[in-house]
Structure formats: C-alpha cells, structure tokens
Symmetry: C2
Subunit: 142 residues, 2 copies
C-alpha cells in the first residue's frame, strides 16, 4: 500500500513544487543579467518609480520587510541602487548602472515568458498565471 497521491492533491505541495521548478527556469533566463529574477524585478520597480520606499517595494514584491532590507543591501553593494533616508522611510533609487541594465532585464523577462509560452502555449500560460494570482489574492485576505 503506497498511496502517495495525497501529495498531488495538496495545493500547498503542488504550488511550492511549481515554484521550485519555475524558479530554476527563471534563473536560467536571468543568468545573463547577473541577477536572479527577484533582484531584477526590484530594480525594475526602482526604475519605474525612483525613490520608491522600501515598504512599497516589499508590498509589491510580496516579501517580508526584513527580506527586502537584505535585497537592497546586496543591490547597494553591487552599486545598482542607492538609499536615501527620508524621515522614517528609506527611498530607493536606481543608479546609472541599473538604468543601463534595463534593456537586459526586459529581455530576460521577455525570454522567460517566451519560453513558458513555447512549452505551455500562450493561452495556457496566461490562464494559469491569472488563476494562480487570483488564488493567492483570495488566500491573502484570510
């Protein structure tokens, strides 16, 4: 009796499994930027809104503020962002070096999407992404 189908029926398990698999793919596509996808996205947010607060970054990226602090630490060490303290908030600005990377970051995102579309089909990719997003939003409010 090896009834192990319970794993495949558990959303906790399947969601994290998908996360692990897709993270590997995303990291491959972002490898040429020298950053992992989350760092790339942080930079894109900082370019889109220079001076964005760390609080807002953490919310947009859906990570804990302590995690964000560490991400910004690393990007600052790489001279990709600069902090400016403004009262009790910290504003994050992209450096010239980061702005120069924007093209590469957009390309990596594009390649990632193209790769997923090629495997899953454009429709399916959009549908599953939407479904996953909606699910996470509903779970968040509980």
């Amino acid at each position: 009796m090896a009834d192990d189908r319970f794993l495949e029926h558990c959303l906790f398990f399947t969601a994290n499994r998908l996360g692990r698999i897709i993270t590997k793919i995303a990291e491959e596509e972002f490898a040429e930027t020298g950053l992992t996808p989350m760092y790339g996205y942080l930079i894109r947010l900082a370019i889109g809104k220079p001076g964005i607060s760390q609080k807002e970054l953490a919310e947009k990226l859906s990570i804990a503020s302590s995690t964000l602090t560490r991400f910004v630490d690393k990007l600052e060490a790489k001279k990709l962002v600069k902090r400016r303290v403004s009262g009790k908030t910290v504003q994050v600005f992209p450096t010239e070096k980061a702005i120069a990377m924007e093209e590469a970051l957009l390309r990596a995102s594009h390649n990632l999407h193209a790769r997923l579309d090629a495997i899953l089909g454009k429709e399916t990719t959009a549908a599953i992404t939407e479904a996953v997003l909606k699910t996470s939003k509903r779970l968040e409010q509980n």
Copy 2:
C-alpha cells in the same frame, strides 16, 4: 510612470507568491503536529512504504537529494524515522513514535484542505491544484 503590472503577469512571480502565502497557512494547520508540512509528508510516505529509499523520497517530494538528507537528519534526531544502510541506498523506516502520529498528520492535512475549500470553494481548489500540478509536470520535462 509606475507600471508594475509586469509582476502579476509573470508566472514565476505569482507561483512563488502563492507558495509563500500557502506555506504560512499550511504551517499553521500543521502546528499542532509539531512538524512543518513537508516533514509530515515525508513521514506519511515512510509509513506508506516502510524502508522507502531516500532517492524515492526525494523524487516523490520533488526536492534535491541533499535537501532530503537534511530532512531525514532532523527527523532521525527527533526519533521519528530510522535509517538502514542497504548497499548504496539508505532505507527509511518510521518509528513507533511516527506511527503514533499518523492520525494527527492526517487530521492536519484534512484541516488544511478544509480551510482552503472554505476560502476558495471545493471545485476551485481542486481545479487550481490540478492546473498547477499539470503545469509543473509540463515544465519539468523541458
């Protein structure tokens, strides 16, 4: 121009976001067992097939073998599994203590599912779980 919708259209991002959110919920439901869900599932697999090899456990749980080694280390330290070396493979057996926990583990799984069903609806939960599983399987083969 703060065009940050790109995050919500990225499956890498949404899948990991869902993973983080649902992990928190799952850990709450498993708290009474004193284990996190992945450890609970490992034990269930060992109970379902006493003597299961670490390789098979890693495959079933979709984690790297190095990760599995560490999980088994921890469960062995808690006297919940025992290792038996058998040639180049290691067999994993549940202890009496683990077997005595089975009920509680099943209950935690059940409570987790019930909670998800209550938030998302039974149909939706099943559908998203199935879709996520299928997606991860297709991505795995590439």
